[in-house]
Amino acid sequence: MAAVSSLPAFAQTNDEPDQFTPPSEGFTEYSLGDQMLSINLGLMVPLFFNWGPDGFSRTNLSVGGIGSLQWGSFLNSRVALGMELGGTFMFTPNGRSLFMVPITGKVSYFFRPYPFEIPIFLGAGLNISRLDDQTKFDPILKPGASFYWAYNPEWSFGLNTVWWWVPQFYRGPEPPSGDTRVGNFLELSLSALYHF
């Protein structure tokens, strides 16, 4: 009786149906120490090699896969510093696997036209390449941009587009200096970003 009689009273004080309350217009401002974690999975597209005797050349590689983990921390509401550990694989004409594991530091600048976030960034660090039993440590630069949709204040989902620039230097005699090349690859990946 008491439960039934309470229903009309409840209906009188709240006429609005339940609904999802969206985030307030505009994002919460980031500040020093705010952090983010992202996981990225997608495709690696080999573009071209250059610095060889023929200049620009085809890579001879297949489209491959890429995955990475990234951590970042905001310095202010726009700029973040972070670190990324990734891995990619691609195949040669004879089925050999080229693995690359970049370990990079990263600086990002965020554009935030609500409800989207568009960071542009530059990563730099060390790339470990492996083909059969050959391993090589090279520098790497990773300029790129992402496009995120903010699902809620914590989670964003989006796309990454990143250029991998990997100069591979050899001084000789084995491997010869003429085998120096710069590898150019394009990462296209889906991303889930968590702010905390």
Partner: protein, 410 residues
């Protein structure tokens, strides 16, 4: 672990450090990106790929040079095809009765000329109890037993050697104490009897033979035996090889003329087991010199690979010795000790030893696997072609007629 704001960074840092720590830097002979850029797809034939190849011969059916066939012991069967490539697929010959299933041809050699000689094939059955030598008629592809078979696991025929138009068989018998003994036997032709023992009671298998058509040399992984023409009973004398000319274990032996004179070439490796090793040595001594004396031998500098057996071919008009290598690893397989593949020694000049050129070689599986033997046709029409025989990566053909060798997985 308490999750703090610094935890993700520390975890990522730890993961990165682990990746770097577990990665040994081994650059190899060619640049990674450069080798991929130049890589061409390896063509493949119809032979089984991941099998052992235990020998190869050629035979001219018509005697005119127009009907030359290759015969190879690949996997558990002998297979054949035309040498001129008009039929690129290999056909299979059924094993002799009693040698089906897991039985295998352990060796194939030809005694005599390419158009009039005789092909001999040794078999061991699937249980390792029965073994025999058979002739193979190249026209009818029929096997016929030579002499008598061995049974009960005794005198299993591991390899045949055709030197100086004679047939020798390397046999193994399990010892009563479990230690096998290895013998080298001379097989009288054409009937296969008598079979006389040339060298007996060795602890290691016979792995190679060479001849200058007058004298013969045989090697186990430990010892060198000399069978001089002056020995009427076919006995062979062990030669103590000076330490300057060898490593722990022997790999193979060859006789090669460098354009001036005949030399005996000897390969060796640092491993003390039946297989393996991380370094090796090749030495040569003039035929006729006392091989037990240090002064007779000219060694090359120790090389960073464990050498196996020899071959010879005429490649781009240059007489070239070929020597195989093992693929071995150091420690817990984190580092390649001996890379595999083979080396070329143009004109037998030891200072000129080199890795085969070309990106096709780098891309070929056998360049990163052990190589035990070679075959090159004696017919001028098929010069610039060499076959590589492997213990587990099948049969490979190298065509040296172009700017760089092109390799095909038969």
């Amino acid at each position: 672990m308490r999750f703090t704001t610094k935890t993700p960074f520390r975890l990522l840092l730890l993961l990165s450090a682990a990746v770097v720590a577990m990665t040994a830097c081994d650059q190899g002979p060619v640049g990674i990106f450069a080798s991929i850029e130049r890589e061409v797809a390896i063509q493949e034939g119809n032979l089984p790929k991941k099998v052992a190849v235990n020998g190869m011969v050629e035979f001219d059916l018509s005697g005119t040079g127009d009907d030359v066939y290759y015969f190879a012991a690949v996997g558990g069967r002998v297979r054949f095809r035309r040498a001129d490539g008009t039929e690129s697929d290999w056909a299979t010959i059924a094993n002799p009765p009693g040698y089906d299933g897991g039985s295998r041809p352990t060796s194939i050699v030809r005694v005599g000329d390419i158009d009039s000689g005789t092909i001999y094939v040794s078999f061991i059955d699937s249980e390792g109890k029965r073994s025999g030598i058979f002739t193979l008629d190249p026209g009818t592809r029929a096997f016929a037993l030579v002499g008598t078979e061995s049974s009960g696991g005794e005198r299993l025929i591991q390899r045949l050697f055709a030197v100086s138009d004679e047939l020798f068989a390397a046999t193994v018998t399990p010892g009563t104490s479990g230690t096998p003994t290895h013998d080298l036997r001379h097989v009288a032709l054409p009937t296969g009897t008598p079979v006389s023992i040339v060298v007996t009671d060795q602890s290691e298998p016979f792995i190679g033979a060479a001849t200058d058509d007058t004298n013969n040399w045989f090697v186990t992984t430990k010892a060198l035996f000399e069978n001089l023409s002056a020995s009427p009973d076919n006995s062979a004398t062990e030669i103590s090889i000076p330490s300057e000319a060898r490593e722990t274990s022997l790999g193979g032996i060859a006789v090669f003329n460098d354009g001036v004179q005949d030399f005996v070439y000897l390969s060796s490796r640092s491993g003390s087991n039946v297989t393996g090793g991380s370094t090796g040595r090749i030495a040569r001594a003039p035929v006729g010199d006392d091989l037990s004396l240090s002064v007779s031998w000219t060694p090359i500098t120790q090389n960073d690979r464990a050498f196996t057996g020899f071959g010879a071919a005429n490649l781009n008009s240059v007489s070239t010795i070929l020597v195989g290598t093992y693929r071995t690893f150091a420690g817990s397989r984190s580092r390649v000790a001996s890379p595999g593949g083979f080396m070329e020694i143009p004109e037998g000049t030891l200072a000129g030893i080199r890795r085969p050129a070309g990106n096709s070689y780098v891309a070929a599986d056998f360049s990163k696997a052990s190589v035990f033997g070679f075959f090159a046709s004696g017919e001028p029409e098929f010069a610039d072609t060499v076959f590589v025989l492997t213990p587990g990566t099948g049969l490979w053909r190298g065509d040296y007629g172009g700017p760089e060798p092109v390799w095909v997985w038969e």
